[in-house]
């Protein structure tokens, strides 16, 4: 058991536990906070996998910007503990079952794939995630999607402003 394996198992357990907490908390602020913990765990996984750039971007963009946005909206809604209105336990049950079913399917198909068992993940080694290497590919091969994504952001900004405008 070397250290990477131990870290892998620890991070996986943390991610799973936090995800379950996200889904089950009543208070939406708690859900947001647990989701931030999930993002941290996943960033840890990225580091294990030599994707340093992505790990940092994950923290900054997701945990830093998107979750903060969520918190803003939640606090604006002033939603402390929603009033309990007609909870349909049957629907919840069904939802969990569906999720479980999907999980079973995915896992079983992945297990039955023959050549999957031959491949391994090599941890820790390699330069694959270095910013330099990523940047080389990004600005040569994927230059067009890069530019188009800027247009996407523009339209998202405009859309958000238009939708969020108060009717006067």
């Amino acid at each position: 058991m070397d250290i990477t394996t131990i870290i892998f198992w620890f991070l996986s357990a943390l991610a799973l536990f936090s995800a379950i907490m996200v889904v089950t908390r009543k208070n939406p602020i708690f859900s947001v906070l647990w989701l931030i913990v999930v993002f941290f765990a996943i960033s840890g996984h990225y580091l294990l996998l030599n994707a340093q750039f992505l790990a940092v971007v994950n923290i900054i963009v997701y945990a830093g910007a998107i979750m903060v946005l969520f918190l803003f909206v939640v606090m604006m809604m002033n939603l402390d503990n929603l009033p309990v209105v007609n909870k349909n336990t049957w629907m919840k049950f069904l939802g969990v079952i569906s999720g479980g079913l999907l999980l079973c399917i995915l896992v079983s198909t992945s297990k039955s794939a023959a050549d999957m068992n031959l491949k391994t993940i090599v941890l820790k080694d390699g330069d694959i995630g270095l910013i330099e290497n990523l940047g080389k590919v990004l600005f040569t091969k994927y230059a067009l999607p890069f530019e188009i994504s800027s247009i996407l952001f523009l339209s998202a900004m405009v859309g958000a402003v238009v939708i969020g405008k108060k009717e006067s």
Binding site: M91, S98, L102, I105, T109
Partner: protein
């Protein structure tokens, strides 16, 4: 010769088509001339065949009607003595009746006039097909054809619902008999593989006793329906709802004699089955007596004649039942003469009375319509058996054959003959003698009929008077030409020699005395000024036809109607309609339920999406397993 024979039924058929299809455009004269003309030409062609003596037992085949690996039923005609004789009767009497009808139906509108003549032509065509057919199937086609024409013509004045019921009743009773006929044909086909006369009659000896008895009984059932014997006779009196010439042609001269023809044709089969012959004779006798008893107390002139027809048909079946086939056919011929004459005469009387048919309102018409009077008198004498008329010769033959068969049969048949004379003279006296019992305006309306009606009457009267001379017994100086003529096809009755002459003289004497007594009695009772026609006690029962119609209604008609009503209301309405409507209602209901899936709740939609994706994954990634599983099931 083959083409000639084909023309005989073909011409009336063409007449039917042309007059029927162009009925809106032809004038009355044109329709009458066309229709009568084709029958006249057929009659001439029949005469040609008759005088050329070219008969053969072989059939003339035109084409294959039904032909498969098991059966071969050709459309073939058989021109032998029996069919030629019947053809003469049909076309001859038919022609006279057509001519008569041109004057009798002259008050109709041109379309209905043409429709009448087209139906009459179709009838003659079907009847010719019946007698010309060389196998039972072609006979059956003609059989059905005359049934249909009978229905069409009885219900000719279709605006009157009573007439429609009468037509329906006739057709249904015919149909009941037809079932028997069909079963007999099927039985023959099953046993002998063919329905051709030549094959059936030559192989008849190979049939077992049960086969022959069964087949002949079933054939006789068909004859019961068509020729109005007990128990299927009640349609004939009701059939008087049709025009009088129709009654003359169909219900006196031709259609009702189809049963006689069938049995005469199948004499080989019937002779092999004594059981059936006894049944035929008994039923014929019973019908003769029953119908004669009812005719004694009827007040409608046509009803009397209708029951008289039923009774005379009974006589013919008695003749057939004792084995005197030629006698039966001979009585057909003479009966067609005098009965058609009676009906046409009655038509003339009705025409003179302006439509009145009740004899209690007639009387003393002798001076006003003389030609009708004299021809009617000849017919009455013929049917009563006045010496040397045609009716005398044929009836005596029947009585002699009955005497040779069994004494009780003879005496009962004689009793029926006495009743015949009684009711005929009653009608004669009530209509033509005595004082007029009708209203004033009817009296002013009385006039003789136009020549188109009286000339056929005269011709038929002549035939009725002298028609017997073709078969006059030898003691009176005649020779049985008729029996000789039919001998190759239909056997005659074999009398035991000596006592014949004595019997003949007894019969002659008995007839003269009896007729004299009856004439005087009837003159006393019925040649009167006042006659109400109301009866009490047993006479009332007879006047109400022994209540047999009511009996049939209670036993058969009403239960059928109830069953039909039950089926209509419960099976049809609740059952079948329920199913059909139920399909519609089910679809409506299920669509309402399915609509609820669109709840608008996004959560539900996502749930269903996830479940579907799960199922899709399962199916796609385990395709082989699923296909193998499905193949094992199917």
């Amino acid at each position: 010769m083959n083409a000639l024979v084909l023309c005989i039924p073909l011409l009336p058929f063409l007449g039917f088509l042309i007059v029927g299809l162009c009925r809106n455009k032809l004038s009355k004269t044109m329709s009458g001339i066309l229709a009568s003309g084709v029958i006249g030409i057929s009659f001439i062609l029949t005469l040609v065949i008759f005088f050329s003596h070219s008969y053969s037992p072989n059939a003339i085949t035109y084409f294959n009607f039904i032909s498969n690996s098991q059966y071969n039923i050709p459309f073939a005609f058989q021109v032998d003595q029996l069919s030629t004789l019947f053809m003469l009767i049909i076309t001859g009497v038919g022609f006279l009746i057509h001519v008569y009808s041109t004057a009798y139906m002259s008050e109709e509108t041109p379309e209905h006039y043409a429709r009448y003549f087209s139906y009459l032509n179709l009838f003659v065509f079907s009847m010719l097909l019946l007698v010309l057919g060389a196998n039972y199937v072609i006979m059956f086609i003609g059989w059905e054809g005359v049934g249909i024409c009978s229905y069409l013509l009885i219900g000719f004045w279709f605006k009157n619902n009573q007439y429609n019921y009468a037509a329906r009743k006739a057709f249904i009773m015919n149909r009941i008999g037809d079932v028997g006929f069909l079963l007999a044909i099927f039985w023959l086909l099953a046993r002998l593989g063919s329905a051709d006369y030549s094959i059936v009659f030559s192989n008849a000896s190979t049939l077992s006793v049960t086969d022959v008895t069964g087949i002949t009984i079933l054939l006789f059932v068909g004859a019961i329906g068509k020729s109005a014997q007990i128990p299927l006779y009640t349609w004939l009196p009701d059939a008087m709802a049709g025009p009088t010439p129709v009654s003359a042609l169909i219900h006196a001269a031709t259609m009702v004699t189809a049963g006689i023809y069938m049995i005469a044709r199948s004499n080989v089969l019937f002779s092999m089955s004594p059981v059936t012959m006894d049944i035929v004779a008994v039923i014929g006798l019973a019908t003769a007596i029953l119908a004669a008893s009812i005719a004694l107390f009827q007040n409608d002139i046509k009803k009397v004649l209708a029951y008289s027809t039923v009774s005379q048909l009974g006589f013919m079946f008695v003749a057939l039942g004792v084995g005197a086939y030629t006698t039966g056919v001979f009585h057909v011929m003479t009966h067609s003469f005098f009965k058609a004459l009676l009906f046409l005469g009655a038509g003339s009387v009705i025409h003179a009375m302006g439509g009145e048919q009740d004899i209690t309102k007639m009387g003393g018409l002798r001076k006003k319509i003389p030609i009708t009077y004299w021809t009617f008198l000849i017919a009455v004498l013929a049917i009563s058996g006045f010496p040397f008329t045609s009716g005398f010769v044929s009836k005596d033959e029947i009585l002699m054959a009955a005497y040779a068969h069994s004494q009780p049969l003879f005496w009962l048949t004689t009793f029926a003959a006495v009743l015949t004379a009684l009711y005929m003279f009653r009608v004669f006296m009530l209509v033509f003698l005595g004082g007029f019992r009708g209203s004033e305006e009817q009296q002013h309306h009385l006039h003789e009929s136009p020549p188109a009606m009286t000339i056929p009457l005269i011709i038929l009267a002549v035939l009725a008077a002298i028609g017997g001379f073709v078969q006059l017994p030898e003691i009176f100086g005649g020779h049985d030409y008729f029996n000789e003529f039919l001998a190759p096809v239909v056997p005659a009755f074999k009398h035991v020699g000596e006592s014949m002459a004595v019997q003949e003289y007894y019969l002659l004497g008995g007839t003269v005395v009896g007729l004299l007594i009856i004439f005087l009695l009837c003159k006393k009772w019925y040649a009167v000024k006042h006659f109400e026609g109301k009866y009490t006690g047993i006479k009332n029962v007879l006047a109400h036809k022994w209540y047999i119609d009511e009996l049939y209604d209670a036993i058969i008609v009403n239960p059928f109607n109830n069953i039909a009503g039950f089926l209509k209301s419960i099976v049809e309405k609740s059952g079948i309609d329920g199913i059909v409507n139920g399909v519609g209602r089910f679809i409506q209901y299920s669509s309402r339920q399915v609509r609820l899936v669109q709840s608008g709740m996004v959560g539900n939609y996502i749930l269903i999406m996830v479940l579907s994706i799960t199922v899709l994954f399962m199916v796609f990634w385990n395709q082989d397993l699923i296909i193998g599983f499905l193949q094992k099931i199917f």
